[in-house]
């Protein structure tokens, strides 16, 4: 208890592991259920699948990351959840704008797909940080602009978010190819890229927390 008070951002690698495994599992289960229960997948019905996945992922991400909220004395658990919920549309807007700037198709028939995709992206990138840091500009600036995370918690927020964005960026490359495959449509391969990047980011973040844990133990010894 004493330790937690002194530095709230410190979390153990097992916590990181559990959080990431939960997020990853829910993501996988989301895909599985969409495929086997609703018999839809990203290719056949991208907007509904994306919608289902972000809807199922949302409570898990917000509830989990709200546990790591900063300044716990000022910020109740419920407030952290509310911050996360507020972060969702804000992040979605930013993601959608970024995607549009990079060349996502404009048009009413793409609106639903873009919306669901950006909500999912927001869940990967903004919502965890919003739950943890709320509206603390300094922390946001540190994590997303400077990329100078310090502590496992920062890595836990920073790496998967960057992974998802970079994955989505690379995921966009097959889109113009003339293979005429259904998955080349917006936003299917971009979503695949984002999910892949997110998973890689989570693995990386867990690796970092393990390393840091090991270093700390060494120092303590």
């Amino acid at each position: 208890m004493k330790k937690e008070k002194s530095s709230q951002s410190t979390i153990s690698s097992s916590q990181v592991f559990l959080t990431h495994v939960c997020c990853g599992l829910v993501l996988a289960v989301g895909f599985w259920v969409a495929h086997n229960v609703y018999s839809i997948n990203l290719v056949s019905d991208p907007s509904n699948t994306l919608c289902w996945i972000w809807a199922s992922e949302l409570p898990v991400v917000i509830l989990l990351f709200s546990c790591f909220r900063q300044k716990q004395e000022k910020c109740s658990y419920l407030k952290a959840i509310a911050q996360g919920l507020l972060g969702l549309p804000a992040g979605a807007l930013l993601n959608a704008l970024g995607a549009l700037a990079l060349g996502a198709p404009i048009g009413l028939q793409y609106l639903e797909k873009t919306l669901n995709w950006s909500l999912l992206m927001s869940l990967f990138t903004f919502v965890p940080a919003a739950s943890v840091y709320g509206s603390s500009w300094k922390d946001w600036h540190r994590i997303f602009a400077c990329t100078k995370p310090n502590g496992s918690l920062d890595f836990m927020l920073c790496l998967p978010a960057h992974g998802a964005v970079i994955g989505a960026w690379f995921g966009a490359w097959p889109m113009p190819l003339d293979w005429e495959r259904p998955w080349q449509d917006w936003p299917i391969c971009v979503s695949y890229g984002a999910v892949a990047g997110y998973v890689v980011g989570m693995v990386g973040s867990f690796g970092v927390s393990l390393m840091r844990g090991g270093q700390k133990q060494l120092k303590a010894e």
């Binding site: 970024g98 990079l102 060349g103 048009g107 028939q109 600036h141 400077c146 113009p176 003339d178 005429e180």
Partner: protein
């Protein structure tokens, strides 16, 4: 001046290397052939040593000809499966052809037709009808339109009073716009539509067979080609298509056989069912692989005929259902001349094919039988008769080919080597020597027949030698890539890149700055990111899809760099507005690029872009037309205002001031010009007296005067200004403004908007320059140049090229721009205008605008620096810009070399290559001028 040369020699060296490399590569890659405007006439034959017949060149042996072209007909679609090691599902589907060939070996035959690359429909149709080997660039006087200007077999038919009916693929009507008596063209560019063209053909084909109003009927089916492109060869739609064709062909043959009796409509009809090229199992074609070049011709006449002497028989036979079925082979090159000789029209002037003995034999007997009825009994006499005719046809054939070769080497810029010419003449002379003797035999043919047979054979062999040598020579010259030259070109290009790099490094060293970073520790992120962007763009050129969507790719990368700079401005907590505006302008550019893409999709056969993003704005609404009329003029006024401010705020005086004033005057004239053209304001009445061409011409003239004034200033004023950067700015604004008025009027109404957009984007890039540096260094030390803004500027230039409605294809040139201010066509003048329109924003203005990065920051943060530092900076900027352009062009060259057998090498890669290469040389020249001007 010495200082100029010290740096300028690098640009000269690099330009020189680029030109050499490109020339060598192009010589190996872009095969060119000169189109000759001559055509053959009936009366020409009197110049030849051959026997002339009563009619035109040869005696017509076929009255009517039916050509059914099945696009992308693979050889194994027609030939029986017993000819192949393995039987595949798509074989033996055209059963009726095999059956007829089996039942009547003397009047119906299946040929393996070998086409020459490039195996694209347009080139093949050109090859089939002209009997020549079309190359990627047929140098001729067709400026954009694909119509065939060379002499061809359709043209000969028209000249000799034959009536031609065409149905099917509309490529024919593009190639022969005014040749057909009747035509039923159907659009060919929608690859996903398997049936429209075919159904249209079927609808008109069978009724036409009973008509009397044609002599030659052409029906071009596209279904197999499209099925191949979409589904591949091994697919159900393909097999369905083949079965459908089988049914149609069965009907056609049935109708023809019914009408083939003496005195009936199709007594003397020849049916040809043929492919224009083959296809690979994926349905691709264009290259030179066996699957692509091997197609088939099925020929059928409706008479019993003698068989060809075995020496000239190229057929291979297989036992099929206890019967021999034989398949001969023919070069597609020989098609035009053989068909011409059968119909008795003069051979196309540029044909280098030879009359194929087997195809000729299929039809020729028809008049033989009439002429001497008693000869029926004696096969030998019939054969000899046939050979006498054939040898005379070959004589005409050889004479015509020799005439073409002589005229071609006399007129063409790049003719044949003298060695080859000598060898050709030698072979022809040998054949002619024999001919004098053979001719006597033919003239006095009452002598014993048997004796003359060996002589005739010898004569035929002599002609064959000559013709096959010519064909081989032409092939090596017009269809084969010269890999050694291509490799050398690439090597020199890579060397030039290395020298480019060295030059930048050396200049840095001489000024005591290392390339990597000011501290010399590791590579800065900006450099890494910039090289990453350049490399990924270079790699993207390897795929045809990315070349097609190049504007989008460039915009994607530009937006990525925009996002990165936005991030940096977040870190620095400054210039957020500029970064946001920059992103916004990339977004607007992107919309403009997509609009250009949708325009491209309308003409391109490769592209299918849904213009879904247009939210149903109908252009016809009066509000929009009003907007479209006024917004460009408003933008022009804003541009003029900027210039006015530049004069008043800056220390401009003397000639530069007059130059800028001239540009403002030009803008006013342009606004007036557009106002008179528009319907909204009825100014047309006001200016009735002034012809519409005067304003553009005045603008061109003012532009020229401005440029010469600037050159004059450059030559005769040696004032050393203390503030170098200020003087740079003073130099930059006049030259940009002098160029801009011409570019804007050529680009039309989008011009001022694009100019405004690029000024805004350029301003943002300039302001954001070095934003990353400061964070790395902490404090702004010696600001070494970050390559990222240059990459951004380059990408912006690429985006502007696409956003102004251009794309890398010859139909992407805006031909209308060449005729602004002029009505009549003069090649050089119109080509210059077209070049200014095409490369105006993307090359001319962007290179001259490069000093922006040196000149402008000084106006905002007044830190005085010495002249040498900023001139070094300018040198680096120009060199880096050149390096980026050269890297992209090298990547294009490499990709073209790698993909030289790609399906779309002629459709996409080669035009892209031409545009990039021209752009590179233009950039080099412009950088050189910029050197002279700015230093």
């Amino acid at each position: 001046m010495r200082g100029w040369w010290r740096l300028g020699k690098w640009t000269v060296l690099i330009m020189f290397l680029h030109i050499i490399a490109i020339l060598i590569f192009t010589k190996g890659f872009l095969l060119t052939r000169t189109e000759l405007p001559h055509s053959s006439n009936c009366s020409d034959l009197s110049e030849s040593p051959c026997l002339s017949s009563s009619s035109c060149w040869t005696k017509p042996v076929v009255d009517r000809l039916i050509i059914i072209v099945l696009d992308a007909l693979r050889f194994d679609f027609v030939a029986p499966s017993s000819f192949f090691e393995q039987k595949h599902p798509w074989m033996d589907k055209l059963k009726v052809l095999q059956r007829v060939a089996l039942e009547k070996p003397s009047s119906a035959k299946i040929f393996k037709a070998v086409a020459d690359p490039p195996t694209t429909s347009l080139q093949r149709l050109k090859g089939l009808t002209t009997g020549a080997l079309p190359t990627f660039i047929d140098v001729g006087n067709s400026f954009g339109a694909p119509a065939i200007v060379e002499d061809n077999f359709i043209n000969q038919l028209i000249q000799n009073g034959k009536r031609v009916v065409m149905m099917g693929d509309d490529t024919w009507t593009q190639l022969f716009p005014n040749h057909f008596n009747k035509s039923y063209p159907y659009p060919s560019f929608n690859v996903k539509d398997l049936d429209t063209v075919d159904n249209g053909c079927i609808e008109h084909l069978l009724p036409s067979l009973d008509e009397q109003d044609w002599d030659v009927l052409i029906a071009h089916f596209l279904g197999v080609d499209h099925a191949g492109h979409i589904y591949g060869v091994d697919s159900t739609p393909m097999i369905e298509k083949l079965e459908q064709y089988n049914a149609i062909l069965e009907k056609v043959i049935e109708v023809l056989q019914k009408q083939s009796g003496p005195g009936k409509l199709h007594e003397n009809t020849l049916l040809l069912v043929m492919g224009d090229h083959g296809q690979t199992l994926n349905g691709d074609h264009g290259g030179g692989s066996a699957e692509e070049v091997e197609t088939s011709i099925f020929a059928m006449s409706f008479k019993d005929l003698p068989s060809v002497p075995s020496e000239f028989d190229s057929s291979s036979c297989k036992l099929q259902a206890n019967n021999n079925i034989c398949i001969s082979s023919i070069q597609q090159l020989d098609f035009a001349v053989t068909v011409s000789s059968l119909l008795g029209v003069p051979f196309p002037f540029g044909s280098i094919g030879r009359v194929n003995p087997e195809l000729y034999a299929l039809a020729v007997g028809t008049w033989n039988l009439e002429d001497n009825e008693m000869g029926k009994a004696q096969d030998q006499i019939k054969l000899e008769e046939w050979m006498q005719n054939y040898v005379n046809v070959l004589c005409i054939n050889s004479w015509q080919v020799k005439r073409y070769i002589d005229v071609y080497s006399a007129l063409s810029v790049i003719g044949f080597s003298s060695e080859d010419i000598f060898h050709i003449s030698d072979l022809y002379a040998k054949a002619e020597e024999n001919w004098l003797y053979t001719k006597n035999l033919l003239l006095y043919k009452n002598e014993s027949y048997n004796a003359s047979l060996p002589d005739l054979k010898r004569q035929i062999v002599a002609y064959f030698n000559f013709l096959s040598y010519v064909a081989e020579l032409a092939r090596s010259k017009w269809t084969e890539f010269n890999l050694k030259m291509m490799g050398t070109g690439i090597g020199i290009m890579l060397l030039s890149l290395y020298i480019h790099f060295l030059a930048i490094k050396k200049v840095n060293k001489s000024y005591g700055v290392s390339l990597l970073s000011s501290k010399g520790s590791g590579i800065s992120f900006g450099l890494m990111f910039a090289s990453f962007i350049v490399v990924i763009r270079a790699c993207s050129l390897l795929s045809n899809s990315f070349i097609l969507g190049e504007g989008k790719v460039a915009n994607f990368l530009l937006a990525t760099t925009g996002i990165i700079t936005l991030r940096y401005s977040f870190i620095k907590k400054e210039m957020l507005l500029e970064a946001t505006i920059f992103l916004l302008s990339t977004f607007i550019l992107r919309i403009a690029i997509e609009a250009g893409l949708s325009k491209q999709a309308a003409t391109s056969q490769f592209l299918n872009v849904s213009s879904a993003w247009m939210l149903g704005i109908s252009i016809s609404q009066p509000v929009w037309t009003y907007m479209a009329e006024t917004v460009p003029i408003l933008a022009l006024i804003i541009l003029g205002y900027f210039l006015y401010k530049a004069i008043s705020s800056c220390c401009c005086w003397g000639i530069p001031e007059y130059v800028i004033m001239g540009t403002i005057l030009c803008y006013l004239l342009i606004a007036l010009h557009w106002a008179t053209e528009s319907n909204v304001l009825d100014l047309a009445l006001l200016l009735k007296g002034i012809e519409k061409n005067y304003i553009p011409r005045t603008i061109y003239a003012i532009g020229l005067i401005q440029l010469s004034l600037l050159a004059f200033v450059l030559l005769f004023s040696n004032k050393e200004t203390s503030n170098y950067k200020g003087s740079l700015f003073v130099k930059m604004i006049p030259i940009l403004s002098a160029c801009s008025s011409t570019v804007i009027i050529l680009l039309g109404k989008q011009g001022p908007l694009v100019a405004l957009g690029s000024i805004v984007a350029g301003y943002c890039i300039m302001r954001l320059e070095g934003i990353e540096q400061h964070t790395v260094d902490g404090a702004p030390g010696i600001s070494i140049l970050d390559p990222l803004p240059i990459v951004q500027w380059n990408l912006l230039a690429v985006c502007l090229f696409f956003a102004t409605g251009h794309w890398c294809a010859f139909d992407g040139l805006r031909y209308g721009a060449a005729f602004i201010g002029f009505d009549e066509f003069i090649l050089v003048r119109q080509a210059i205008l077209l070049a200014i329109d095409t490369f105006g924003f993307s090359h001319i203005l962007s290179v001259f605008g490069l000093p922006l990065f040196v000149a402008c920051p000084s106006l905002f943060n007044q830190t005085g620096r010495s002249r040498s530092v900023s001139s070094m900076k300018l040198f680096r900027i120009l060199m880096m810009y050149g390096l980026i352009t050269a890297t992209t062009a090298t990547a294009t060259i490499l990709c073209v070399a790698v993909q030289r057998r790609h399906l779309m090498v002629w459709g996409l890669f080669a035009p892209k290559f031409v545009f990039d290469v021209v752009g590179l040389i233009l950039t080099d020249v412009l950088i050189f001028w910029a050197f002279i001007y700015y230093f």
